[in-house]
Structures are given as structure tokens and as C-alpha cells.
Symmetry: C2
DNA sequence: CATTATACCTAGTTCTCATAGGCATAGCCC
DNA sequence: GGGCTATGCCTATGAGAACTAGGTATAATG
């Protein structure tokens, strides 16, 4: 509960978006989200890795072992066609949801 | 999984906001969220009522039985001082999180 | 009188996240 | 060489929250 619990329902969207630009390994996905958000999106490894496995089981991602630039062993993930379609769906769903929440929040107070 | 699962982490914020303008009963909270969002925010009763009870246990809400305009028995909830403080916290947290997610989504693609 | 909408409730399932460990290797400093 | 940190992966367990799928009761409507 330290960070979010807001992740539920958006974590897979975020991961898909991270990988849409090209393959990345899991650790790099977590680092990218954290750094590109100034620390707001801080995904615990205990949430990140299970999510990646889950998404691979669902056919949204595919993976292969390889090496990082510094010669370390790492598992690289890429978005499958199904994953690409899901990314667009989730994108729309998020936009719709966020707009609705903002609408309620900004409602003029009686 | 039919509707959202995006609610996790925002449902309490939405409820607090609904009640910030004055007391409402549970059923009316659900209806208000659904109608004011064009159906996007459709909270199941199995999520709504437990959330209200939970928030009352936490001291964010207080309740009292009363009657609706049409003479029906209903439990009315109002926001406590703690609930008011929480509303502002959650508001900030949501704004920060939503901005971060939008930032990742809109990142220029390689 | 039967059906619908209102208005409340909860037990059980399922899913996801966080906690809290574990393993292995590369680079750094002492 | 020895210890520490960062990288990179993993999972078992627990907690928490939403959904499913029921239930109750009453007022209005056909």
C-alpha cells in the first residue's frame, strides 16, 4: 500500500505502452516507469514480474532470453499482435474512465 | 471484470466526492455516479455497500437512517472531518497518478 | 395481483498488488 | 581477496477490493 493500489487495471496498459516502442526486459520496464514519472509509477517487483508472466500466458506478450548492453542475462519482452490490439482497447478505456472521474471531481459544488 | 477493476483505488475518492455536497444514501450514490458519467462509472452494489461500510469503519463517513423524498427508508451518509481531509489527499494522489499515466501514454513513440 | 424499481445487505470467489524473502553475477571500494 | 551495491530474475504468502449471486423488504405500476 506504500505506493499506489491505483495500479489495478492500469498496470497492464502501462507495460504494453512501455514495450510498444520495442523489446525491453522486465527490470528495464520497472525502471523506465519509475524514472519517466518522477517516481510516481513505482511498480514493485512482486507486482511487475507476475504481471509480465500473466500477460505472456494471455498471449499479449512474448519473451526471449538475451543479453543487456552490459552483458547481463535478461528476459526481453515484446508485444504480440493481440497485445497491440489490447493496448488500444485499454488506452480508450483509460481515457474514458479518467475523463469520467475528472468529471465527477470537477462537478461544481452545491 | 465486466465493468472496471479500474475502480480499485478511486472508488473511495468518488464516493467522498459524491457526498461532499451533502448527505446522500447509498443507492443514490451509485445512481449519481452512473448517470453523471453516462454509464462509465457503474459501481456494482456488491462493491458499493461494502465500500460505504468500510469507509464508515475507517471514520471517513458517518451514517444515519432516514427517509427519501418518496418516503422510503434509506441510510444517509455524510463526510466526517477525517473524510474531508482524505478527499483532498486522494484528489491530489489521483491527479498525480493520472498525469503520470497520461505522460507515459503520450510519450513520443520511437 | 404480479412485476418493476427502489433500497438495503452479505457470503464466497477471484484477481491483483505488496511483503518479503530467495538466487546469481558484475562492478566497485577497501 | 572480501564485502557491498546494483542489476536481473523469481515466487509463496497474505491482504484487500471488486464482482457474482444470491437474499430481504416496500412502494409504485401494470
Amino acid at each position: 500500500m506504500s505506493g499506489s493500489d491505483l495500479f489495478t487495471g492500469t498496470l497492464e496498459l502501462l507495460i504494453l505502452r512501455c514495450l510498444a516502442g520495442g523489446p525491453r526486459h522486465g527490470y528495464a520496464v520497472g525502471r523506465f516507469l519509475r524514472e519517466s514519472s518522477g517516481g510516481v509509477l513505482d511498480v514493485e517487483e512482486g507486482a511487475l514480474y507476475p504481471a509480465l508472466h500473466r500477460m505472456e500466458r494471455k498471449g499479449l506478450l512474448a519473451s526471449s532470453w538475451g543479453k543487456t548492453e552490459t552483458g547481463r542475462r535478461a528476459k526481453f519482452y515484446n508485444v504480440t499482435p493481440d497485445g497491440g490490439a489490447r493496448l488500444e482497447e485499454e488506452r480508450v478505456r483509460w481515457a474514458e474512465y479518467a475523463r469520467a472521474v475528472d468529471g465527477v471531481l470537477q462537478e461544481s459544488e452545491g
